[in-house]
């Protein structure tokens, strides 16, 4: 079994290596046809077109060379255009590190890729995703025997380099962060990985894959492999099995399949479970030709659904079941945190200091998201163009794109997931997600959900706190015999699972008595209990 596990790990590693190494292989050859079509959509400047025509078309260049050339020509072109007496702003390309590569350079690099990979996409898929998935399943499958009889098996977690911020953990951290930076800002360097899933995209709705399809497909594959790990690790625990199955289902069906199918039927791409303010750009397109409102009845329904989801379904469900119904049963971010992130949950900080930071950050993001959306709605109703300056040289578009960059990309992606191996999973959910903040307020003040503490049974061992991904010091409540009512609790149920004495139970019940501060625990003298707990 140990051998099987190692073989699995090696196969998986080979898949990842091919996937990663492919970034550095292949060349680009921009044909006249590709060049003309790209230029007609992207560039007005004659200077740029002439120079690029000379330096790029027909040449065999690596993705890096091609990208650098385009950017340096764009810079020259901007300098030239700005030096004209009468500046034609339409000719300016405006080079920005976080925008130009993905919006301007990427389409050309994507269209002009040549080499082995573009010609053998199907095989390449099997060499990357295929090997990684099969190897991963073998490695985790072997745990069925290796972990021994069903039960809590956290043996060696703090002694292993991967799960205790060792070399492997730091390597994974670097890998995640670099991947997210490339994905969000430099997809022009991910062409071969993007091509690996192209046959699937073609098959699904006839379109060409892009970085977001790659991300979506990776997301589902990673979650599936790690869900199998969860099924094996928690095979004695129905709550974990059911929760993992449901969150995996919502990811694959609602975040991946349904949107792609909608597109195949010429309907808008829409994730029915993604609620504002997590879905921060829900209102951005209002008034635009491509907004949901202007896409027929289906679009109108989606728009209405989105609002109904945020205003009615979310708070009502949180009232009855706590925010766990979303965060650890439905949400994609939560889904990744609970599968890929599960091996890192013990790394979240439980200090009071982190709790303070957490409250400022997450509620800060909620305020930011709300103000930004208010501004978006204001300019829609006041019929102001989004690029128009409103005050201090800032336009609504500036606010939106700042949020998108800082929160939408850097916080939720690069930090939120990249830092799993350092700060524990759920970095985003704990410190940044505005929807989590919103639901947290409901959960804290108006909900039936609580984690019940079982009388005086707690022995303060601290397994619950250690394995709380949200950094809640569960023990500090349990050892006082107090129920855990915390806005940040996502109800993953692991505190209850790892408790060796059966002290914790997630449940929904009457609001009365939900919060039960105690001085003395059940089991001591009845008079003392009365004296101290009821004053």
């Amino acid at each position: 079994m140990k051998t099987l596990k190692n073989i699995g790990l090696i196969i998986c590693f080979i898949g990842f290596t091919i996937f990663t190494a492919s970034i550095f292989t292949g060349t680009n050859k921009v044909s006249q046809e590709i060049f003309d079509s790209w230029v007609s959509q992207k560039v007005k400047s004659k200077f740029f077109i002439e120079k690029a025509q000379k330096e790029i078309v027909g040449k065999e260049l690596s993705a890096y060379q091609l990208s650098s050339k385009i950017i340096s020509i764009a810079k020259e072109s901007d300098a030239f255009e700005k030096s004209q007496e009468k500046i034609n702003w339409n000719n300016i390309i405006k080079v920005k590190w976080n925008k130009t590569s993905k919006n301007f350079v990427y389409p050309l690099v994507r269209a002009s890729a040549t080499g082995w990979v573009p010609k053998n996409q199907g095989l390449f898929f099997w060499l990357t995703f295929g090997l990684a998935i099969i190897g991963g399943l073998m490695a985790f499958g072997a745990d069925y025997k290796l972990l021994g009889p069903a039960g809590i098996k956290n043996n060696g977690i703090f002694q292993h380099s991967a799960t205790n911020r060792g070399i492997i953990g730091i390597g994974a951290f670097a890998f995640f962060v670099i991947f997210y930076v490339l994905l969000y800002f430099f997809p022009n360097y991910l062409i071969n990985p993007i091509l690996s899933v192209n046959p699937i995209k073609n098959w699904m709705n006839g379109n060409e894959s892009d970085q977001w399809f790659l991300y979506g497909f990776m997301y589902c594959s990673v979650m599936t492999v790690f869900a199998v790990r969860m099924f094996i690790k928690y095979r004695h625990n129905n709550y974990q099995i059911l929760r993992t199955s449901v969150v995996l289902f919502f990811q694959i069906a609602f975040a991946f399949l349904i949107p792609e199918i909608l597109v195949a039927f010429n309907k808008p791409w829409f994730d029915f479970k993604n609620a504002w303010p997590l879905d921060y750009d829900f209102f951005f397109d209002l008034g635009k030709d491509w907004s949901l409102m202007s896409q027929g009845q289906v679009g109108l329904f989606m728009f209405g659904w989105g609002i109904f989801l945020t205003l009615v379904i979310v708070p009502v469900m949180v009232y009855f079941y706590g925010k766990r119904w979303y965060c650890s049963w439905v949400c994609g971010c939560g889904g990744l945190a609970e599968t890929l992130g599960d091996p890192y949950r013990q790394l979240s900080s439980k200090s009071l200091f982190s709790w303070k930071v957490e409250r400022w950050l997450i509620h800060g993001v909620l305020v930011f998201a709300t103000l930004m959306t208010a501004l978006t709605l204001y300019i829609f109703f006041a019929e102001i163009e989004s690029w128009k300056e409103l005050a201090f040289g800032i336009s609504a578009y500036d606010v939106q794109s700042t949020y998108g960059f800082l929160i939408g990309s850097i916080f939720s992606g690069v930090i939120g997931t990249g830092f799993y191996p350092i700060l524990g999973n759920r970095v985003w959910c704990r410190f940044g997600c505005p929807l989590a903040a919103y639901m947290g307020l409901v959960q804290r003040f108006k909900s039936r959900f609580r984690i019940t503490t079982n009388g005086g049974q707690c022995i303060s061992c601290g397994n619950c706190s250690t394995y709380c991904e949200q950094g809640i010091d569960v023990r500090s409540y349990a050892q006082k015999g107090e129920n855990i009512i915390r806005s940040s609790c996502v109800g993953c149920g692991v505190c209850s699972a790892v408790c060796p004495r059966g002290v914790l139970k997630l449940e929904n019940g009457p609001e009365d008595g939900r919060i039960n501060p105690t001085e003395v625990l059940l089991g001591n003298d009845v008079d003392l209990l009365k004296l101290m707990n009821e004053k």
Partner: protein, 447 residues
């Protein structure tokens, strides 16, 4: 300002300190030679197993003590001079107190076995034991086999710990079935099986004769008294129970027996000296409890109670209904009320075991009045609240079984066995109990 000095920073000492702080401004010092800060002794096993870091075993962050003005002193108390109200420390310094709380806990028993002090012989109680274990049994290359002597809760925990690092374990148990002085035979057999299923070499009904040394004063092997069999090993764990850690009290005016003798108010015979937790011995045992209780929560409860007395509201220690819990490798155990290893005259028993062999309940009730006396539950979690109320209100067995769903504390979506349990009881007792519907108001209505 009155100076309260507490010897011992375990759960008892820390609880009394915290509660005194809540109630007063008294000066508080906690003295310990084991560690600088309070940690959870029950979690030491998880550090070795890699579930936790030692940091994670500390229930309070390090700033907590300063913030709450609880002074911590790392020192070993050598003796107590009650006449001058001062302690003599290991560096022969004197340390004055106004009121003294002895909360020094236990130490592992050693019964004078030959070789019991060799290198590689360890207990599993103190932080230092964890460090020794890490030294002598870091992996199965260094430690080819470990032998554990003594079949109690610490013994099985130590077996689980070593097993987690794939170190072969031989487990010597004096009784003819694991922990059968406490557990009825059915449960005891279930745990025997759990131990064996985890590939631990369980030897029942055997005693240790001697531990043999190699040339370097390290453990080489042990010999079993009954059979004379010699088992080669690198580590020997002595887990044959614990006894009060009170040697330093013996020469003082404070009365001791096995532990420091206290009355119901946790006062010793000497004015302004109290004892709580594992090291305290009740002169007259409370109800059916033992006079010395080495249990986490009784230490805590004594701390909660004594703080009242020290802060001017004299309060007797009156623990409520007995309860306890443990985990035997993968099988969780809880108990509420009393289920003796052997039924008493007036007692009837009902036992149910799931076919997977890992879940069971054993209910004890009065033959004639049908009053519920206690329950052992294995692999199914139950609500403390529920049984505490049942015991206080002296409900009968029928009530308990009828409302068993309300007692269930397993996570959501777990399979429930109330129907199966009730129908077995009905068949055996010619009754026709029907399960009542789960009632939130019953579950959450605190007494």
């Amino acid at each position: 300002m009155e100076h309260i000095v507490i010897i011992g920073n375990g759960i008892s000492g820390v609880t009394v300190a915290r509660h005194i702080r809540k109630l007063s401004d008294k000066k508080i010092t906690i003295i310990s030679s084991e560690t600088e800060h309070f940690f959870s002794r029950t979690a030491l096993m998880y550090v070795y197993m890699g579930h936790m870091k030692f940091e994670n075993t500390k229930p309070y962050e390090d700033w907590f003590w300063d913030k709450n003005k609880i002074a911590l002193k790392k020192a070993l108390v050598k003796s107590i001079d009650t006449e001058n109200k001062q302690l003599v420390l290991d560096d022969n310094d004197h340390f004055a107190y106004d009121k003294l709380v002895i909360a020094t806990g236990s130490k592992p028993n050693k019964f004078g076995w030959p070789g019991q002090d060799l290198k590689g012989v360890i207990g599993m109680y103190h932080k230092q034991d964890l460090e020794s274990l890490e030294k002598y049994a870091p992996n199965n290359k260094e430690c080819k086999r470990a032998v554990i002597v003594g079949g109690g809760l610490i013994g099985i925990e130590l077996a689980e710990m070593l097993h987690s690092r794939n170190i072969p374990v031989t487990f010597l148990v004096r009784e003819d079935s694991f922990w059968n002085g406490v557990l009825p035979q059915e449960e005891s057999e279930m745990i025997n099986k759990e131990i064996i299923d985890n590939h631990i070499d369980l030897r029942l009904g055997v005693n240790l004769k001697e531990i043999k040394s190699d040339a370097n004063g390290k453990v080489k092997s042990i010999v079993i008294a009954e059979t004379g069999e010699e088992i080669a090993c690198n580590v020997v764990g002595l887990t044959a129970g614990v006894s009060p850690n009170i040697n330093f009290v013996k020469d003082s005016s404070i009365d001791t027996n096995r532990g420091v003798l206290v009355n119901r108010f946790l006062e010793t015979n000497t004015k302004d000296v109290y004892a709580i937790g594992d090291c305290a011995e009740q002169k007259v045992a409370i109800d059916q409890r033992r006079s010395i209780e080495a249990v986490w929560y009784t230490g805590r409860m004594m701390g909660e109670t004594l703080a009242q007395t020290i802060c001017g509201k004299k309060t007797a220690y009156k623990p409520g209904h007995w309860f306890n819990s443990a985990k035997f490798i993968d099988i969780e155990y809880q108990t509420y009320g009393w289920v003796w290893a052997k039924p008493k005259e007036n007692e009837a028993r009902f036992f149910w075991k799931h076919k997977d062999g890992k879940k069971a309940i054993h209910v004890n009730f009065d033959k004639t009045t049908r009053e519920f006396i206690g329950i052992n539950t294995f692999g199914i979690r139950m609500r403390h609240d529920f049984f505490d109320k049942v015991l206080t209100e002296k409900k009968d067995i029928e009530y308990v079984l009828k409302n068993l769903a309300n007692a269930n504390f397993d996570p959501e979506f777990y399979k429930q066995y109330e129907q199966e349990i009730i129908s077995k009881f009905n068949t055996e007792n010619n009754t026709s109990i029907k399960a009542a519907k789960k009632s939130w108001s019953l579950i959450f209505n605190r007494s």
